[in-house]
Subunit: 242 residues, 2 copies
């Protein structure tokens, strides 16, 4: 089991520095590393879980669904994101979490949150930061789904995920980044049908703005893609990691 002091995520450029004491404490709290296969349900909607997690490796997403099976993806989770934290610390999860790729989770006891707030205020603030940060991303998704055209949503999504993946250290030598979402996932994330998702994606491809095949996303013309999305980028803040 990897000690947190040696966590490869800490080396990323946008990670906040922690003190050795903080790192040691976190590492002591770490209970296990759980592997999951792509497609696994990590937390089912409405389930309760003794643990909370940090995503160490791989991609996942949060979602909610309706009784008849329609599903909305709320947010894509990348390494460093917290999984399973919610307002009601000890009750049923209001959303599900599913793995997009093979995934490794660092597990902590749920009660750790109490001790963390009691004994490590600065870490508690970090945890709140992470949770609030994830929600900010969901706000952006809502803005897209509610008010942007399908084309704009798609461009937006690709720009954002390209950037997030790149800053998670996933950029490949040829400039592409891994992109494990199927068109079905994209549809559920953007609030579109799978067919229309394909139509819109084809348009972007034909215009040479993006290439997306075999799970690799390459952006041909980032400037143009941003123009389509009518989006200008804010600088990424430094983030904590628990």
């Amino acid at each position: 089991m990897l000690p947190c002091q040696a966590c490869p995520l800490r080396a990323l450029s946008d990670m906040r520095e922690f003190t050795p004491e903080q790192l040691a404490w976190i590492s002591r709290q770490k209970r296990a590393e759980y592997p999951h296969a792509a497609g696994d349900t990590i937390i089912a909607e409405g389930a309760t879980d003794e643990r909370i997690y940090t995503l160490l490796r791989g991609w996942a997403f949060r979602y909610k669904s309706l009784p008849d099976g329609r599903r909305q993806i709320l947010n894509v989770l990348l390494p460093g994101d917290v999984v399973g934290l919610q307002a009601e610390l000890m009750s049923a999860s209001p959303h599900g979490v599913e793995a997009l790729t093979e995934v490794t989770l660092c597990a902590f006891r749920r009660d750790m949150v109490w001790e963390l707030f009691r004994d490590h205020p600065s870490l508690a603030l970090d945890l709140t930061w992470l949770s609030a940060h994830g929600e900010r991303l969901t706000d952006d998704v809502l803005l897209s789904v509610g008010r942007r055209s399908a084309m704009e949503r798609m461009a937006m999504l690709l720009v954002l995920l390209y950037r997030r993946a790149a800053s998670s250290g996933l950029k490949r030598p040829d400039g592409g980044v891994p992109f494990p979402l199927t068109q079905g996932h994209i549809a559920d994330l953007l609030g579109l049908s799978a067919v229309h998702t394909n139509r819109v994606l084809q348009q972007l491809r034909r215009q040479g703005l993006v290439s997306l095949k075999e799970g690799v996303l390459t952006v041909g013309d980032l400037r143009a893609l941003r123009r389509v999305a009518d989006y200008w980028e804010q600088p990424a803040p430094r983030r904590p990691l628990l």
Copy 2:
């Protein structure tokens, strides 16, 4: 200026109990009460504010907008909700906040959050709870906007706001609750055009499910409305108030 110990919101049935010490501390932190008129911008998008607030009286909403003016309402704020808290404690607000009615805000210094985490872990947890709870509501909005039909969204919204308003102690003797959203607001919240919002609302009216006039919402047939929304209600949790 109202001392927090005497805050009328504390009397609501779904409020958590606080110790006298906690109440005294919060009350000492309270800096001012700010009034705002209906329609006022409380926090502009991208603005920075020295303070954070608790909504004491009135309705407000969080929103994000696009350069060309399209706007998405993220969430409706009712008394007891926290205003102006965000991940980047000291940076620009990623969303705006606007008053729907006359509003009164309790103001706190932003640094208070630091002291709160350092000296009052239990309150810090409450603050995190409130922030996460607000975001859960936004998740529900996203599910609606992304995956429900216009009709379902409308029914959903009315059921939820009816319930929230009622549990905030706003139910009138005739069974109605105040409903200060214009159809334009509803459209921005549900991701619809104003015209279509009106169409859908008329349908619900003609079926006798709701009445909505002069700022008062009355639900004629709650059971049927829930059926339209395909929604079954979870019990409301006990909430903290800062």
